[in-house]
């Protein structure tokens, strides 16, 4: 019963709230007055043509870029312009589009460093090691624990990228094209992983993805941006029928 009351309470206040967020590089308006919310437990997809500003938006949310204007609220604290490591401590972690493992460290160490520094709470080393092992198991990397990260294949590196962010115990995970570059079979294997993060670990997810079939299947909600502006916010099924989205993202009908 306590749990119900708690989840009800959280449902009323969004996990992430972005208000009129803008960012320009010189004269270029990369992100223009974007507003949206992510509620606890949701998987939200973020799509848009190349250069639409998806990765810039991620960089703003995770502290790698400072906003030129607007407001980012995460768990009721304003995080616009906050340092990335602080934002991580609050419970938001991101993966990178181009995977960036620490090449000279083992898979285990890669995850361990995130487990140690991703959260402020001090735990004894044995507890940290236990956590790391559990994460490696749940991401299917357990047998690779002792290997150098530089020796992993691309799908394994993508898993490591996710494993590392999981070790920081995020409440909101920003996934930047984790499915890109995987073959259909590998995508099939990766989707259950993403679902289980949401179902079992109760992590909310905001994900950039080009693989439309995958994103339609996973996401509760879809955000579409084009030229730095939000042009759609709603159900995935509605998105494919929205003329503006079709025009901007899927292209003219004749082309298809």
């Amino acid at each position: 019963m306590g749990q119900d009351a708690e989840s009800l309470d959280i449902n009323q206040s969004p996990l992430l709230e972005v208000r009129e967020l803008s960012r320009n590089f010189g004269g270029l308006q990369a992100i223009f007055e974007i507003s949206f919310k992510v509620s606890p437990g949701q998987i939200v997809g973020l799509i848009g043509p190349n250069g639409a500003g998806k990765t810039t938006l991620f960089a703003l949310l995770s502290g790698f870029l400072s906003p030129s204007g607007g407001e980012i609220q995460f768990l009721n604290s304003s995080i616009g312009g906050m340092r990335p490591d602080r934002i991580c401590h609050l419970g938001m972690a991101r993966t990178f589009q181009v995977v960036r493992p620490f090449p000279e460290m083992t898979v285990f160490e890669n995850v361990k460093v995130a487990a140690i520094f991703g959260k402020h709470s001090k735990r004894p080393p044995s507890v940290v090691d236990q956590e790391v092992q559990e994460i490696l198991e749940s991401t299917g990397l357990f047998s690779k624990a002792g290997r150098l990260a530089s020796s992993l294949s691309l799908p394994e590196r993508k898993r490591l990228e996710v494993a590392r962010t999981l070790a920081t115990k995020p409440k909101l995970l920003l996934l930047d094209e984790v499915l890109a570059g995987l073959n259909p079979r590998e995508v099939e294997e990766a989707i259950p992983l993403i679902r289980s993060l949401n179902n079992q670990m109760k992590i909310s997810i905001l994900m950039i993805e080009h693989n439309l079939r995958a994103i339609m299947g996973i996401c509760d909600r879809l955000l579409v941006i084009n030229f730095g502006q939000l042009i759609f916010d709603g159900l995935p099924t509605e998105a494919v029928e929205n003329p503006e989205v079709i025009q901007a993202y899927l292209g003219e009908k004749e082309d298809a």
Binding site: G63, F64, P84, C88, F96, P101, F102, F117, R164, T168
Partner: protein, 323 residues
């Protein structure tokens, strides 16, 4: 054909072999004072190289100006002894902390910049400190330098007296002990949580920040430890040679040779740089000097180029495994 294909040893074994070699080297040289003096400098260089490599090889922050910390340690300790009458051992420790202060002064602004700016600004920093030493004549006697810097006081252990004024052997073993102490500090630091953070910062600064690693603090802390150890060796150097000038204490070779030694020995290892320092000293002394009395240093340049092209991870970079 690379050394890594012929033999593979662990970091620990390499360290044992290195310090074992250092221990018996004076016997091999039959305590010849000239050769001892050469290898005392090699050990000082070895210890500075270990410290430089903690910053560059482990944390990924290349410094072109470690001479700054070496000179600060040398002058700091000498002045505390000459002008304030301190015991040289105490002065050495405090002088090492002067090095830490220098690290904070240059690291605080420089580590906020990304890219090669740290390497460049520390180069400038070394020059500034040298010019200060040259011009603050009331304190440092300027270009005249400092004379008669006292040797470390003799230590009595039971019936044995360790004399640092006359005996080269005693100085040699103290230098070896300092190098060992610095190695142990670096070894344990590397295997701590902070060491993991250093590796992560080396691997990818942005990603490290993204998973909660305090990047700036990690880099500054690494520089502070590196500067402490370097300044300590500078202080030892001052009490060993008894004479300092801005040109000798802040000599650019204290910035350059640790880089050369680390590239030789392998930046990816912890012990490698000290092996590199001993190796280049040995090569220079026993081979190059025999054939070319003048210009023998020229061979470093050629040899370094060959090593970098042939085996970029250093001669032992592939032979010494991390675990």
């Amino acid at each position: 054909m690379k050394l890594g294909n012929f033999f593979q040893i662990t970091e620990k074994t390499a360290a044992f072999l290195t310090f074992g070699f250092v221990l018996i080297l004076p016997v091999v040289l039959s305590f010849n004072p000239y050769y001892l003096s050469i290898f005392i400098i090699a050990l000082i260089l070895g210890a500075v190289s270990l410290s430089w490599n903690l910053l560059a090889g482990v944390c990924g922050q290349v410094s072109f100006g470690h001479a700054a910390f070496f000179g600060i340690g040398a002058y700091g300790s000498s002045l505390l002894v000459l002008k304030a009458g301190w015991n040289p051992f105490g002065a050495m420790i405090i002088a090492a902390f002067f090095g830490v202060m220098g690290a904070i002064i240059i690291g605080t602004p420089a580590f906020r910049l990304r890219g090669p700016y740290f390497a460049l600004s520390i180069l400038g920093f070394a020059e500034v400190v040298k010019l200060l030493t040259l011009n603050l004549t009331w304190l440092t006697d300027g270009s005249q330098g400092l004379f008669n810097i006292p040797a470390l006081p003799a230590i009595r252990i039971g019936s044995m007296t360790l004399d640092f004024f006359v005996s080269r052997t005693t100085n040699y073993y103290l230098a070896a002990f300092l190098m060992l102490a610095i190695y142990l500090v670096i070894y344990f630091l590397r295997h701590s949580n902070t060491g993991l953070a250093m590796s992560a910062v080396h691997g990818d600064e942005e990603t490290a920040a993204g998973i909660g690693v305090p990047v700036f603090r990690t880099k500054l802390l690494t520089l502070m430890v590196s500067a402490f150890c370097t300044a300590l060796m500078g202080a030892f150097y001052a009490h060993y040679v008894h004479f300092l000038s801005p040109d000798s204490a802040f000599d650019g070779s204290w910035s350059v040779m640790p880089i050369v030694a680390s590239l030789f020995g392998g930046m990816g290892t912890l012990i490698g740089p000290s092996i590199g320092a001993l190796l280049i000293t040995g090569l220079d002394e026993f081979i190059f000097k025999q054939f070319f009395e003048t210009g023998h240093k020229l061979f470093f340049g050629i040899l370094l180029a060959v090593v970098i092209v042939w085996t970029p991870k250093g001669l032992f970079g592939k032979s010494i495994r991390k675990k």
